[in-house]
C-alpha cells in the first residue's frame, strides 16, 4: 500500500524514507523528459512563488532552483544576503517575519550555519528546501547524485562509489553518502587525513591512497570540491600538494579508464586542484549530467512538497 504522506519541508536526507526517495527519483524522470520538448515549461506551479534565499554565494545551486521553478511556471524571487552582513539569531527571526509577509509558497535556503533551514521551516507556512546549511546537509545534491548514478547503474545496490577529497567540509559528502548508504551502494572515502573525520562515516571504508582506491575497484569515483573559502585552518600544506596527492590527473585517469569507472563531481570544479583539464573531458564523466539532473530533481521536489494551507 501507499504509505507516502505529503511533506512540507526537505531539510536533510536522514529523515527521508526509502519510499519517499524512490518517489522523488521516479518522478524526476518525466520532468527530465520535458527538457527534450521545445516547450520545456509546464503550468503546475502557476501563481505560486518560490523565494531563493541565499546567505552564501552560490551560482549553480541557486540558478538550478531558479530554472526548476521557472520550468514549473512559478514566480521566483532571488534574495541574496551579502556574506558580510552577519546574521544573528534575532535578525533571522526578523527575516522570517518578512518572508511570512511576502507569502512565498516555497523557500529555498542556503546558510552557513547548520540548522537554519529547520528553524525557518518551523516558523513559516511555506515549504522550505535546504539548499545547503553549513557542514550539515545538501539533500537535493544527494538526490541528483543518486539519479545520475542510477541512470548508469539501474541495479545500483552493491555498486561501489569512492568519495575522494575534503570530507570534513562537505555537506555534499554527508548527504550523498547517507543516501547512497540507504540505497545499499557501497562507499569508501579517501582524502587528507586531516579532512577525513573519524567516526562520522562508520559505514564507509577508509582508504588512504589512490592505489587503495583503485584496488577497491570502484564503479564511480566522486571527487569533492576543495572548499578553499571554507577552510579556516590549514588542513593540508598547499594546493599543489593536494593536487599531487588527491587530484585526478592523467595517470589516475588512465586507471579510471582501465576500470571503466565513472567520474562525478558536485561542481564547481577547481581546475588544477582536485581535477585537471584533461580529466574534465573524460568520456565517462557524469559532471554535466549531474547539472541537468539537478534541475529535474529540484522540479520533482517542488512538485512533492506541500506548503501548509493558510488558515482563513
Amino acid at each position: 500500500m501507499n504509505d507516502l504522506q505529503p511533506r512540507k519541508d526537505l531539510l536533510d536526507i536522514e529523515s527521508l524514507t526509502l519510499e519517499e526517495i524512490e518517489y522523488v527519483l521516479e518522478n524526476a524522470v518525466p520532468f527530465k523528459q520535458l527538457f527534450q520538448r521545445s516547450v520545456k515549461k509546464v503550468p503546475t506551479l502557476r501563481g505560486k512563488t518560490v523565494l531563493n534565499l541565499f546567505y552564501e554565494p552560490s551560482t549553480r545551486t541557486s540558478s538550478s532552483f531558479e530554472v526548476a521553478a521557472n520550468r514549473m511556471s512559478a514566480d521566483v524571487t532571488n534574495f541574496t544576503i551579502s556574506a558580510s552582513s552577519v546574521v544573528k539569531g534575532e535578525s533571522l527571526l526578523d527575516t522570517i517575519e518578512t518572508l511570512q509577509a511576502m507569502r512565498s509558497d516555497y523557500i529555498v535556503i542556503r546558510h552557513q550555519a547548520a540548522g537554519v533551514p529547520g528553524i525557518v521551516a518551523k516558523h513559516t507556512r511555506a515549504s522550505v528546501i535546504n539548499a545547503g546549511d553549513g557542514y550539515h546537509a545538501h539533500p537535493t545534491q544527494a538526490l541528483l547524485d543518486s539519479m545520475t548514478f542510477r541512470e548508469v547503474f539501474p541495479d545500483y545496490a552493491g555498486k561501489r562509489v569512492a568519495i575522494v577529497g575534503d570530507i570534513l567540509h562537505s555537506r555534499v559528502a554527508r548527504s550523498t553518502s547517507t543516501l547512497f548508504n540507504k540505497q545499499g551502494v557501497e562507499l569508501a572515502v579517501m582524502g587528507p587525513g586531516s579532512l577525513v573525520p573519524a567516526g562520522r562515516h562508520d559505514f564507509m571504508t577508509r582508504l588512504s591512497s589512490w592505489e587503495e582506491v583503485f584496488d577497491w575497484k570502484p564503479d564511480a569515483v566522486y571527487l569533492l570540491r576543495v572548499q578553499l573559502e571554507r577552510q579556516e585552518g590549514q588542513f593540508f600544506p598547499s594546493i599543489g600538494e593536494y593536487h599531487r596527492m588527491y587530484g585526478m590527473n592523467a595517470e589516475r585517469l588512465d586507471k579510471m579508464r582501465q576500470l571503466g569507472a565513472y567520474l562525478m563531481h558536485p561542481g564547481p570544479v577547481n581546475r588544477g586542484v582536485e581535477i585537471t583539464d584533461e580529466a574534465m573531458r573524460y568520456e565517462k564523466s557524469l559532471i554535466s549530467t549531474q547539472v541537468e539532473n539537478g534541475i529535474a530533481v529540484r522540479m520533482a521536489v517542488l512538485h512533492w512538497l506541500k506548503p501548509q494551507t493558510e488558515k482563513k
Binding site: N2, N27, Q33, P43, L45, T309
Partner: protein, 183 residues
C-alpha cells in the same frame, strides 16, 4: 476486493461489449482519418490502452496509426487539492511532430471535461496540430466546462453519486466497464 454493503456495482459492458465498442470507434475514427496525416494520443493510463486497441483494429485494415502517450498530471487544475495520494508521474512520449497533424485524443471516460482541458494544454506544448478531436469509450455526462467528445463508444446516463470504472486486461486484473453507485 470486498464489496461494501452501501456500494453496488453493475456491469455496463462485458469484455465482448468493450470489443464491439472499440471496433465501432475504429470505424468512425478510421473513416475520417484515412488519407490525412494523423496520429493518436492516449491519456495515461487507460486512454493509452484504448488508443492502442483502436490502432490495432485499424492496422488490421492496413492503416498505420502512430500512438503517443500523455500524462496530464502537471497540467491539472486541482494541484492544490492533492491529498494524501501523491501523484506519480509518467513519461509522456509523443515520438512524432504534431505540427500540422490531425490528432485524435483518447480517454476511457469523459466526465467533467477537466482532464481533457488539461490534455489540450499539454498537447499544445508539443506542437500545433491542424486539428484535435476527442474519442472516448464512455461519456457519462456532467460536464463542468464546454468540451465535448467527437467519437463515443457508449453514452451513459449517470448521477453524481455514481462513477464509471473501466478495466482493461492490459492495466488491470480484469476486463469490463462497471457503474459503481454509492448509496
Amino acid at each position: 476486493m470486498s464489496e461494501q454493503p452501501d456500494i453496488t456495482t453493475e456491469e455496463i459492458l462485458s469484455p465482448d461489449g468493450i470489443e464491439e465498442a472499440v471496433i465501432d470507434l475504429a470505424k468512425k475514427v478510421g473513416a475520417v482519418c484515412s488519407g490525412s496525416e494523423f496520429a493518436f494520443v492516449g491519456i495515461f493510463t487507460r486512454g493509452v490502452t484504448l488508443a492502442r486497441r483502436v490502432a490495432e483494429v485499424l492496422q488490421q485494415d492496413g492503416m498505420e496509426c502512430p500512438v503517443g502517450t500523455l500524462d496530464i498530471s502537471l497540467y491539472r487544475d486541482d494541484f492544490d487539492n492533492r491529498g494524501a495520494d501523491l501523484p506519480r508521474l509518467e513519461s509522456s512520449d509523443i515520438p512524432f511532430a504534431l505540427d500540422g497533424m490531425r490528432v485524435i485524443l483518447f480517454d476511457e471516460v469523459i466526465f467533467t471535461g477537466r482532464t481533457i482541458r488539461a490534455a489540450l494544454d499539454g498537447l499544445m506544448d508539443y506542437g500545433r496540430p491542424s486539428k484535435i478531436e476527442l474519442a472516448v469509450l464512455i461519456d457519462r455526462g456532467h460536464r463542468e466546462i464546454p468540451i465535448q467528445p467527437d467519437y463515443v463508444g457508449e453514452t451513459l446516463e449517470t448521477t453524481l453519486n455514481q462513477y464509471v470504472k473501466v478495466r482493461f486486461r492490459e492495466d488491470d486484473d480484469k476486463e469490463g466497464v462497471f457503474l459503481v453507485t454509492e448509496k
